[in-house]
Amino acid sequence: MKKTIRLVLTLTVVLSLFAAIPVGAGAEGQTINALITSDPSTLDCARFLGIIDRNILHSITEPLTRIENGIVTPAGAESWTVSDDGLTYTFTLRENQWDDGERVTARDYVYALRREADPKNAWSFASDFFSIVNFEAAFNGAAAPSEIGALAEDDRTLVITLNAPNPAFLSTVDIFPCRESDVEAFGDSYGSEAGTVSSCGPFKMDTWVHNSELSFSRNAQYWDAEHVLLDGFTDQIIPDESAQMASLENGSLDYATVSTPEYAAKFDAHVDLYVLNITTDRTAMIVFNCEDPVLSNAKIRQAFSLALDRELIIEITNGGLGTPAYGLVPTVCYVGDVNFREATKEPLLALLDTDPAALLLEGMEEAGLGADPSKLTLQFTWRDTSATGRTYAELYQQMWEDALGVKIEIDFNESALASIREGNYQIGSVGWGSTYEPLFQLSRWSTGGQSRWVNADYAALVSEGSASMDDAVRLAKYQQAEAMLVTEAAIAPTYYNATQTYAYTHVDGIPTNPFDTTGMKTFFINK
């Protein structure tokens, strides 16, 4: 008996030691615990690989310009002028310092651009910068990185020259600064650990425990430090969904994106949480291999596009989030000041009365494939091999088989994207993000893209549009191009994606425009 009591006492003491500090005690002061789903690849602005890395760079460095509420605003540059021919951008830099007090100069921006153009760094996002003079040539080894069209006239004046007018230039690129002395000091490990990157943005990085957590604090040297309300924030790296949701529920996270409907329903009932519905810049779509003998016929492709019940796809595969897509360009894109989607009726809407089965028969006749759809077997390449992923693929299979009478075989293939890129597929499913102007979405099909759809008229429309500084002309060309792409069914857009972010009521300033590049600068605690 005595022994039992002693055991219970010991256990109590041990457990209470662990329990001494309560978790989820709520936000103390102006700090926020944010979620990221994987470890950043690197915070070297010339080698980073993904959106998570880019978002952190927005918090710790100061790009020339930022997008705030969808609008290009001065950041590292306090102002700029564009020459009449649209080719020369002259930026006047702000008085801004690195976290050790040294001035941020125009040379830091030029140096960063040259590193990004250097083929040695093989930077994944280099093509965003190809409109800068000689950038593409340098990246392909045909010119020296020092020959690119970026020049520091003096400490505060930066001149960037473009190959051709590009009205979307500043809304597409992030021009980060980078100090040559830092890169020389840290060499290959520059950007890979907390101590190896200098900050000139709203925050500086204090710790980086790979695959676990990063922590940041306010950068007192930052030019706009008075408008940075947070004292600091952490990025907790949690890949597992149940762990993410547990962290949100007990307050270890202050906000998080919730994609599973069951969790969303639970958090809807949580009184301390509010929800932000955020329309993203992504369009989900089906791509058809137009080099395939069957799918080279436009009517057959159209039949497959029209046979899809887009509402049902959203309901089942995306938890009801998103909007059916009858066009390619998502609702968040603008041409100049005009919202593209508001100005453009979605092209597929006009075709909704067409009977897909009849269209398929016409197409089969044209292609000499006989008149019996049940003899037609097509392969649908699908990437997600998880149990739920498989049921999603079967939804598409069923829709096509029911509406068209064809036979669909699903090829479950974790390397589906590689197969699609190599043209080794018939029908595939992909998603594409966009930038502020629709050009990014439209231009990838100019050379066929994943669909291998060759159409010189389309390519001409896109390039004429992108070269025009006149917003109205650009809009008109893009509208015609989109209509051509979607009605000829090189692709079948399915839905414009949306996400839900749940946040505790004390968290404020979460950007809702998917193009915003303000990082954590706008966040604050609202007591």
Partner: protein
């Protein structure tokens, strides 16, 4: 003896070379390449540039020879998914975390598991045996992610006693260690039980009983010592295993261990990380087998006489 060990070390080097070779060619046989696995939205020319910058445009055979040359100079290469991180640094920085959590879990699991196994064997077909066996069965069959998620929800949300995720002190290790000790506990309990039962019927136990030794002495000196021998082989392999970490537990509790690097490197096609970690972990594994063989030789005279010294 020395000759025997030297010969074994020679074989180990051969095993490592074979494993590296097989891994290399299997890895390159998977469709796709690192850059496509990491960034989808990439123009063809950028992709080609990337492949060329890392030498992936070369024939696979040439890449293999280059990799071997690099390996023999002691360079494990650099991560592709995480530019600037050397594979050697990844091992040095993150395998200790895995080893710490895994070590604690293994220690608890093995200690409790052996105790349960002995208890079960000595009470064969009575209730302690049944309880232990049912628990062991559950422990081996319930997937770790179920245990980990349930435990996390119960002890960080329902009763917020422990921190949810992270690695900032001893409190952060409790839940992961509990999750990871379930497996070894169940395995060792079953193993020890059957090992004990083998020994119980051995002739020398009958002899010991006939000599009139006390039951305690028989269990401690004769049964345990012999029953533990097979467990030693397994223990060495388990110790080798803790360095590779647990992908599931590390993902759920956001621990900066090696397990996550290893598994995600495969889906990222991070060739050098997969190969480098494979070389290191194979090395640890074959070493552990050697150590277990030497230990057995020291402990078991029957094995010792089999080896010409």
């Amino acid at each position: 003896m020395v000759k025997y060990i030297l010969k074994r070390i020679g074989y180990m080097a051969l095993v490592m070379l074979v494993v590296t070779t097989i891994t290399f060619f299997l890895l390159h046989a998977i469709p796709g390449d690192p850059i496509t696995a990491m960034v989808q939205d990439l123009p063809e020319e950028t992709r080609q540039n990337y492949l060329a910058a890392y030498g992936f445009d070369q024939p696979v055979g040439k890449q293999y020879l280059l990799y071997l040359r690099q390996l023999f100079t002691g360079d494990l290469g650099q991560s592709l998914r995480y530019p600037g991180r050397k594979v050697a640094d990844i091992v040095a920085n993150y395998s200790p975390v895995s080893a710490l959590v895994g070590g604690i879990a293994l220690l608890i699991g093995v200690a409790l598991g052996l105790a349960c196994g002995i208890l079960a064997a000595l009470n064969r077909d009575r209730w302690p045996d049944r309880v232990v066996m049912v628990m062991a069965l559950l422990g081996t069959t319930i997937p770790t992610f179920v245990i980990a998620s349930l435990l996390q929800y119960a002890l960080t949300v329902t009763w917020p006693v422990f921190p949810t995720t992270g690695y900032k002190g001893a409190r952060y290790l409790v839940l992961p260690a509990i999750c990871m000790c379930v497996g070894p506990l169940a395995t060792y309990a079953r193993y020890m039980r059957s090992s004990m039962l083998d020994v119980v019927n051995a002739d020398y136990i009958l002899t010991a009983e006939a000599k009139g030794l006390s039951e305690g002495r028989i269990v401690m000196k004769h049964m345990l010592r012999n029953a533990l021998l097979p467990c030693i082989t397994m223990l060495c392999v388990s110790v080798a295993g803790i360095f590779s970490g647990s992908f599931i537990v590390e993902s759920i509790f956001a621990l900066p261990g090696l397990g996550r690097y290893f598994i995600s490197a495969i889906s990222d096609r991070d060739y050098f990380v997969v190969l480098g970690l494979n070389v290191v972990l194979t090395g640890i594994y074959v070493c552990s087998i050697l150590i277990s063989d030497i230990l057995l030789m020291l402990l078991d005279p029957r094995i010792r006489t089999g080896v010409k010294t």
